[in-house]
């Protein structure tokens, strides 16, 4: 399945974009330090690096969102100052962001019209959208509202919006993090077609396999500096990881799960209509998680993960008791605090603002969920010393880089705050841990630490439920795996008896015996991404 990279188009021609000695210095951090980079016409160049390596900052300077503190940008040989995204677009630079910038209540064509300069006749524009979408194999109906589109379709809208302006350089920021494996393959075909037509592509990612498959060349960043350039097809993931993190890729110890223990979490026909009109209704969900196993729920984001997590955590209480059973107690109507007393701990997807209070010290954030289990409150008063001691334990056990237990949560990087929150939940020795996106945005080393901690917790007899969009992660740590699509949950399969490809198909809602609301066409290689 690894395509050999096409020969680099126009290898001899002048670079389309050349960066020379680009630095970006913020008051507290040097985000980019004398970065040199060049992209030729038709070249697909990967920008590879861990979170915080300075990839996004670099791209934002090319796209005119921020300005470099030093250095020069040459666009087709001309020394330019990109003053704004509009300026970048007029030069012929397009960017597809990791987080989409679309208005949910408007249609596709309306959203596209907003991004184009000048007034647009919508009918005419709709035709052009259809034209571009057929040409590049990006099927999307211009008349549909954004909120009714899947994440994959939304990404297509973003790409089409760029393509309508005939870009000569397309920047893609972590484009595959929200796609099914099949949709990724389809995206790569589109990108290769663009490259064949002479469009240069800067492809930001930390996924080594994808880069080997797609990219002609790669520039590796570490801590804001270029640490190497390579031709990914000639490298191994290990050799690229060395460039990226400066050491070998860490691996988790994963022994066979212990014999199936008692049921700690049982979802018995959980159905719940979402309050939010753009939310996903949960439909008849059945699942059991036993002591001593890790069960993973795969799925493309926006398929009911948020709603399911809220129903389990109690942030969204149910009308009935039986659908959520925690440690053999019917907990559907219990509040989050009561569920915690049954032995539930929970790591939410959003760290800042939900998992932690931004302006509060880590010691206070330890108090947020651990007050009961750790006895941090006595006679209604907070035992500040014990709260601090518990926070320090989390910091030490999970190697959280921070200014101590008194540091406010918002002063930590995303990865370090995630380590703190995971640590806070795990160190409470839960009987059931529910963990959403355990390593999202966390660097490779910290991700390995967190995964190992989850496995160790399982080995100590805890039941663990992990919801993640990273299939590789789920396959690495889970004993059984299941898929959520459109608010329904597939049957759970032992991880050893399934493959990434199978789960990818399931992520479109097509598993054996799946009930569907609307008839779905059988997945063809070209259109199996109805995510």
């Amino acid at each position: 399945m690894t395509h050999p990279p096409a020969s680099i188009a126009g290898a001899a021609s002048n670079p389309r974009l050349k960066l020379s000695g680009i630095s970006k210095i913020y008051p507290t951090v040097v985000a980019n330090d004398r970065v040199d980079l060049s992209v030729r016409p038709g070249e697909i160049r990967a920008i590879l690096g861990e979170n915080g390596a300075g990839k996004s900052t670099l791209m934002k300077m090319i796209y005119g969102v921020t300005r470099p503190s030093a250095g020069q940008i040459f666009w087709e040989g001309q020394d330019v100052q990109v003053t704004s995204p509009a300026h970048a677009r007029s030069l012929g630079i397009g960017m597809v962001f990791q987080h989409f910038s679309l208005f949910e209540t408007l249609t596709v064509v309306e959203n596209v019209a907003l991004a184009l300069p000048g007034a647009q006749a919508l009918d005419e524009l709709a035709e052009r959208i259809t034209e571009v979408s057929t040409r590049y194999g990006l099927p999307v109906d211009p008349r549909r509202h954004i909120h009714a589109l899947s994440v994959g379709e939304r990404q297509r809208v973003e790409i089409i919006r760029c393509l309508l302006q005939d870009p000569r350089l397309l920047i893609m920021d972590e484009p595959t993090s929200v796609l099914t494996p099949q949709a990724v393959r389809k995206l790569f075909e589109t990108l290769r077609q663009l490259s064949d037509e002479g469009c240069s592509i800067l492809y930001i990612s930390h996924k080594l396999d994808e880069i080997r498959e797609l990219c002609h060349t790669a520039t590796v960043l570490r801590a804001g500096k270029v640490t190497g350039e390579c031709e990914p097809a000639r490298e191994t993931p290990q050799s690229m990881a060395r460039l990226m993190i400066g050491k070998e890729l860490p691996h988790c110890e994963h022994s066979q799960a212990a014999a199936s223990g008692e049921v700690r979490l049982r979802l018995a026909g959980l159905s719940h209509a979402a309050d939010d009109p753009f939310g996903v209704d949960l439909k008849d969900i059945h699942l059991e998680v036993h002591a001593g196993e890790i069960v993973g729920i795969a799925g493309v984001s926006g398929n009911g993960q948020q709603e399911l997590l809220r129903a389990i955590s109690g942030e969204e209480p149910l009308a009935e008791r039986f659908p959520v059973q925690i440690c053999n107690v019917e907990a559907g109507r219990l509040k989050p605090g009561q569920r915690r007393k049954l032995g539930l701990c929970f790591v939410p997807e959003e760290r800042l603002g939900r998992g932690a209070v931004p302006g509060m010290a880590l010691a206070d954030n330890a108090l947020l969920t651990a007050s009961h289990t750790q006895g941090l409150v006595r006679g209604g008063l907070v035992d500040a010393g014990r709260a601090r001691a518990f926070a320090e334990r989390c910091i030490e056990a999970f190697k959280v880089k921070c200014g101590g237990a008194g540091a406010p949560a918002k002063s930590l990087s995303g990865g370090n705050l995630q380590k703190f929150i995971v640590g806070r939940e795990i160190l409470q020795a839960p009987r059931l841990l529910v963990c959403a996106q355990p390593t999202w945005g966390v660097d490779v080393g910290a991700a390995a630490l967190i995964r190992q901690a989850l496995i160790d917790l399982r080995d100590r007899g805890c039941a663990v439920l992990v919801i993640s969009e990273e299939l590789d992660e789920l396959f690495e740590i889970c004993d059984r795996i299941t898929v959520i699509a459109k608010g329904r949950l597939s049957p759970a399969r032992p991880t050893a008896q399934t493959t990434v490809e199978d789960i990818g198909v399931w992520m479109s809602g097509l598993w054996p015996g799946a009930e569907t609301d609307e008839p779905l066409a059988a997945p063809t290689p070209a259109e199996s991404l109805h995510a």
Binding site: T28, T83, H87, P358, M360, L381, V382
Partner: protein, 354 residues
């Protein structure tokens, strides 16, 4: 084109210096105002700001004036920290005064030493009861507590008027809209001989300390702070939002009610239709100038009391209208909010983007 730009690292000191800066700017603004009105600014400054602290008696009057302000403000701060926006302390203050008056009139003639504590409790209950209306409407119907609590101020005012013009009017009072004077047993004992400074001041200091402990050391106070700073985190941790709303409003109502009791059982000695004199509204400014912090509120209430008394003095000696106090209060809040903006932002001159 001028533009506000977020600061990379907000200063840790400025949140505390900003109120002082606001005070300084208010002084400058006041001097300019005196000048514009044709008064000598130095003389104006002396009368407005130094007269109220010229001797012990003046200081005792200042503390007396500050008492209801600090009581209302500490109660409000508890709610404000949890993003519960009780704007109706003025009404709760009046209902506290009404409840305390009810007890005083009902037990008229009693010499029991339990009468005053009963009046304090009644005041707290009356204020809390009035605040429970917005709390109930907010938790059950999601009615905005800002509007409800504010509108209830006017209801409370009319209720007080009805009482003092009607059933509670003093039969020997020459038809003035007021109740009869309270007995000694229903009047606050004085703290300082020869002054009007009463027990209410000591209660206020006690409640400031209690408020500080509650906000900074109790688990409920912690949960309220979390609810105020990050509502999603409070939901995640399982802190009930409606309990925070009830706690915030009831604390504010009870404290304001005690302040109202202190007024009728203190300097007024009776209930009149003028019982609400804006303390409940001024306390909102006090709470913010004091940074929702007990010690800050102590200082801010003294400052606000100074503005009140200074305004009265300016009226007396400078022939300025009484609304001068309101102008100073307004300037103080304006300059504070203005200074606060620059804690997190800075002004930047920006060239028009190409």
């Amino acid at each position: 084109m001028l533009e506000l730009e977020a600061r990379a690292e907000p200063s840790r000191l400025m949140p505390w210096l900003s109120p002082l800066l606001a005070v300084a700017l208010t002084l400058v603004g006041g001097m300019l105002l005196f000048l514009a009105l044709g008064k000598d600014p130095i003389e104006g400054f002396r009368i407005f700001f130094l007269n109220p602290v010229r001797d012990l008696y003046a200081v005792s009057e200042l503390l007396l004036k500050a008492t209801p302000l600090m009581l209302c403000a500490i109660g409000l701060a508890i709610g404000f920290r949890a993003n519960v926006w009780n704007i109706g302390a003025e009404g709760q203050f009046m209902l506290g005064a009404v409840a305390a008056t009810g007890v005083a009139l009902y037990f008229d003639g009693s010499q029991s030493s339990l009468l005053l504590p009963a009046m304090v409790a009644a005041g707290a209950l009356g204020g809390a009861l009035w605040a429970s209306i917005p709390a109930f409407l907010r938790t059950h119907f999601n009615a905005n507590e800002i509007l409800v609590s504010l509108m209830l101020v006017y209801v409370a005012q009319l209720f007080v008027s009805w009482l003092v013009f009607g059933p509670w009017r003093d039969p020997d009072g020459f038809n003035f809209p007021q109740t009869k004077m309270f007995d000694d047993a229903a009047t606050m004992p004085m703290l300082l001989e020869g002054t009007r400074l009463h027990m209410g001041f000591a209660i206020a200091i006690g409640l400031l300390v209690a408020g500080h402990v509650f906000m900074n050391h109790s688990f409920t106070g912690f949960r309220m702070r979390v609810a105020g700073e990050a509502a999603a985190a409070a939901r995640y941790a399982g802190f009930s939002a409606s309990r925070m709303i009830w706690a915030g409003l009831l604390a504010g109502g009870a404290a304001a009610g005690i302040a109202g009791m202190g007024e009728v059982a203190g300097p007024m000695g009776q209930l009149t239709d003028k019982v609400g004199s804006g303390y409940g509204f001024a306390a909102i400014i006090v709470a913010f100038v004091g940074r929702l912090n007990a010690f800050g509120i102590l200082l801010a209430s003294l400052l606000m009391a100074l503005l009140y008394i200074g305004g009265e003095q300016a009226q007396q000696y400078l022939n300025l209208p009484s609304s001068i106090s309101m102008v100073f209060q307004g300037m103080l809040l304006f300059f504070l909010l203005g200074s606060d903006v620059f804690i997190n932002y800075r002004l930047r001159l920006r060239r028009r983007a190409a």
